[in-house]
């Protein structure tokens, strides 16, 4: 930047700024001096907006394009999903407004003063709890990822962006009470083996949770990233089962039925079961296995020859990520990526690898290894076992193809 910048005529300055805006963060084809702002920009020449001019802050107007990725042209939007814009996010925490959505009966508008949680079934003391009651229990905060079990389906891998492909995963700090604490308050009877959770939505969504999970790390959550849950994430109360498939983490929780058997509800028989090539379907496939994706550079971005930091996210429902390997030569060789500390149990882990692109077409990809030694499989290896019809639990490696012009595209397509 030079002092001369301030003397650029207004019209030219406008053109320069427009060009800079159009180029975007990854492309960077404009010359540095063209993209530089004026030496003393307008926003330094007068006071900015008043303190408190936004009582609940929102992103800069220049970030208006950063939104949930809502699929177009669905038959209906009551039971559907929207994705987090993974390729535009940094770190491991998903902003609450960009957390992925999957609802089965729309988003209920619940008055917390009228919300109750009923605990019944195989308990000594059936209980009704208000939200005030629930917040009186000892609380805990943990950072956990949450992922929809169909992220993406095996036949839905033609998306363009990282979000299109794997945007049904997000991560947050959750605050609530241990489910074990609340079950203890009601007193478990010896025959108790499962807890059937029901949401207060128009689907009255029901999933059965094995008691062992309920007594382990399961939470009843009322806050996310420091503030109360958003309606899309289950306000005022939800179940949080670290590492388990998203829909079991019942939102808008209103009832826990402690039972000897699962409910065998629609959502754990006809849905969220994995159809195998022999016609059998796997049932109670709870854990989300290790997975990773490069979010930058990724689909629809364009890069130039030279230095790039490859970065992305990895996670596993079985604990911590041990390592992430990255290939920049289409799978011939794999390098160890650096993991951003802290590497947390059942949370997203950010990985990075410095890379200099020589301008020749190639394919880049990442694969995660978790603390159990499990290695994220290729799509070929995964579908060799499961076929293409199981829909759920596709955790395959996502390859990004980079063309000679630097355009990054889905390596499956």
């Amino acid at each position: 930047m030079s002092d001369n910048d301030t003397t650029i005529p207004a019209r030219r300055r406008f053109l320069v700024q427009s060009a800079a805006a159009a180029v975007g963060a990854v492309a960077g084809t404009a010359h540095a001096e063209e993209a530089a702002p004026p030496g003393i920009p307008d926003w330094m020449r007068a006071p900015g907006a008043d303190v408190g001019s936004q009582t609940y802050g929102t992103p800069s107007r220049f970030e208006a394009g950063l939104t949930r990725n809502v699929p177009k042209g669905l038959k209906q939007y009551t039971s559907a999903s929207s994705r987090s814009p993974l390729q535009d996010l940094d770190g491991i925490l998903t902003p609450n407004g960009l957390f992925y959505e999957r609802h089965h009966g729309g988003i209920p508008d619940i008055d917390p003063a009228k919300h109750r949680l009923l605990i019944h079934g195989l308990v000594e003391r059936p209980l009704i709890l208000t939200m005030e009651d629930i917040r009186r229990f000892p609380s805990e905060s943990h950072i956990y990822f949450l992922e929809c079990s169909g992220n993406p389906g095996f036949e839905a891998i033609k998306g363009k962006t990282a979000s299109d492909l794997v945007g049904l995963v997000s991560c947050a700090e959750w605050t609530g009470v241990r489910l074990a604490t609340v079950l203890r308050e009601a007193g478990l009877r010896p025959e108790a083996q499962w807890v059937v959770a029901e949401g207060a939505d128009a689907a009255a969504l029901t999933r059965s949770i094995p008691l062992a999970k309920c007594l382990d790390d399961a939470l009843l959550v009322y806050s996310q990233n420091g503030e109360r849950l958003r309606p899309q994430q289950g306000y005022p109360l939800r179940v949080l089962l670290p590492g388990f498939e998203g829909n079991m983490n019942v939102k808008w929780l209103r009832r826990l039925n402690v039972s000897a058997e699962p409910a065998y509800s629609r959502e754990e028989t006809s849905k969220y079961t994995d159809l195998m090539p022999d016609g059998t379907a796997r049932q109670f496939t709870f854990v989300m296995e290790a997975k990773s994706i490069i979010t930058r550079p990724s689909g629809t971005q364009r890069i130039t020859a030279g230095f790039h930091e490859i970065t992305g996210i990895a996670w596993t429902g079985r604990g911590r990520i041990r390592g992430v390997q990255v290939t920049t030569d289409g799978g011939k060789t794999w390098q160890e990526a650096m993991l951003q500390e802290p590497v947390l149990n059942r949370a997203l882990t950010r990985f990075r690898l410095s890379w200099t692109w020589d301008g020749t077409p190639t394919t880049i990809a990442s694969r995660a290894i978790d603390e159990t030694g499990y290695v994220q499989p290729s799509f070929e290896d995964l579908t060799a076992v499961r076929g293409l019809k199981s829909f759920y639990h596709n955790n395959a490696v996502v390859p990004w193809r980079i063309a000679a012009d630097g355009e990054v595209a889905n390596g499956y397509a």
């Binding site: 009923l118 074990a180 128009a202 062992a212 379907a281 049932q283 060799a384």
Partner: protein
């Protein structure tokens, strides 16, 4: 019970036993007791064997009327699917290259049909049908799948007696199943 299923079950029992004894100790005296009447009003869970199905009954003929008025606009006149899921057909396709998952081809337990329709359907007005209407519509969907006769009347006993074609089609989770 399959061996693997039994092992998982036994492991769960063991865990619960350990946790159960450790959990006995502390209580906070938070919340209030729920009455039997409150529980009965809230609890709409049906088990797979139909032991929790409520009183009441409904005929396939009445089910057709309810279905055509409240269900067909999304699921099609014969359950062939539209904005709503396909409900009928597909039997024998699960192991094929184009499996069609419907109530008749895929759902393992008929009482689950009652549970789901009562709690979640019709999508624009869930929990609006009477128990008799839910029996009727459940029966009509079974009829559309060739699993009930046209003059059938369903209640707790007869719905629980239906053996769904894919009852034994589900297996436990064997993962991790893909080796590097």
């Amino acid at each position: 019970m399959a061996t693997r299923e039994f092992r998982a079950f036994a492991a769960t029992l063991l865990l619960v036993d350990i946790a159960g004894s450790a959990l006995g100790a502390e209580r906070f005296e938070i919340g209030r007791p729920a009455t039997e009447a409150e529980i009965a009003a809230w609890n709409i869970d049906i088990d797979r064997d139909g032991r929790k199905l409520p009183a009441g009954h409904g005929s396939v003929a009445h089910g057709r009327e309810v279905f055509e008025a409240q269900c067909a606009s999304c699921h099609g006149q014969k359950g062939e699917g539209d904005t709503g899921e396909q409900l009928a057909g597909g039997q024998g396709t699960l192991a094929s290259a184009k499996p069609v998952k419907t109530v008749g081809s895929f759902w393992p337990y008929a009482p689950t049909l009652f549970d789901y329709i009562r709690r979640a359907m019709p999508m624009n007005a869930p929990q609006s049908l009477s128990d008799g209407d839910v029996y009727a519509v459940s029966g009509y969907v079974l009829y559309l799948n060739g699993l009930a006769v046209e003059n059938a009347v369903f209640d707790a006993k007869s719905l629980a007696a239906i053996r769904m074609p894919n009852r034994d089609g589900f297996v436990p989770d064997p993962r991790p199943d893909v080796k590097p």
